[in-house]
């Protein structure tokens, strides 16, 4: 079986990112490539393009990766990390517009069943549709 779509969790807080990743592991299982990052290099709240880039490598799947973000810089830094990828990989990464904790669990559940990237993204974004 092909590897499943990967999940990267990016929060300003390492505790939030790790906690969301723990929920994915415990509720969904081990079938989904998963990585998280959070906090700035100085130990404060924030996000780092380098850390996101590394997380993308850890959770990489040829079927694609969804990035779950909390807000603001998490999203823009994720987009910058995507820009650093080789062009061929760039098209396989999407930033999800979904709440970070619930969205991560929904996306991982969808991924664990072998769904393609777009379906994984939709599962996370379907949770709280934008008005």
């Amino acid at each position: 079986m092909n590897r499943n779509v990967g999940i990267v969790i990016v929060s300003h807080s390492p505790d939030v990112a790790k906690g969301a990743a723990d929920m994915v592991r415990q509720m969904v299982g081990l079938d989904v490539p998963l990585a998280w990052c959070g906090g700035d290099p100085g130990g404060g709240l924030g996000t780092s393009v380098d850390a996101i880039e590394k997380a993308l490598q850890t959770a990489w799947s040829d079927r694609g990766v969804v990035i779950m973000v909390d807000m603001g810089g998490a999203e823009t830094n994720s987009e910058m990390a995507i820009e650093r990828l080789p062009e061929k990989k760039r098209a396989k990464v999407v930033v999800c517009n979904a709440p970070i904790v619930e969205g991560s669990v929904m996306a991982a559940t969808e991924s664990s069943g072998g769904s393609p990237l777009e379906k994984v993204r939709r599962a996370a974004e379907e949770l709280y549709p934008r008005m």
Binding site: M27, V28, G29, V105, M106, T109, E110, S112, G113, G114, S115, A123, E126, L127
Partner: protein
């Protein structure tokens, strides 16, 4: 899916005895199991529907099926009967059947 065209190959039902009903973890186990089958699988709170895609984690959780609710299953496809019986067993086992069953 139009109700008129609905002709399931397999149906089943069982009472949801799990303490918290279909909360997060049971819903995840349920949809993960449903996805193992190639059949289309639906869950409903009545044998007349409306029917919800049993492979959609978001929709299964949105059902908010609570304890003592009777849940109904319908499936269409070559492994429809296996899918229904596996899902009935999962609910009846109080979601203790692991995902590795």
């Amino acid at each position: 899916m139009s109700q008129d065209e609905f002709a399931p190959r397999a149906t089943g039902s069982t009472v949801l005895t799990h303490e918290g009903g279909f909360h997060a973890r049971p819903s995840i186990m349920f949809t993960q199991l449903a996805k193992r089958f190639s059949a289309k699988v639906w869950i409903g709170l009545s044998d007349q529907g409306p029917w919800t895609d049993a492979k959609s984690i978001v929709r299964v959780m949105a059902l908010k099926a609570s304890r003592q609710t009777t849940v109904f299953f319908a499936a269409e496809g070559t492994d429809a009967a296996d899918a229904v019986s596996a899902l009935v067993r999962l609910v009846q086992s109080d979601f203790t059947n692991s995902r590795d069953q």
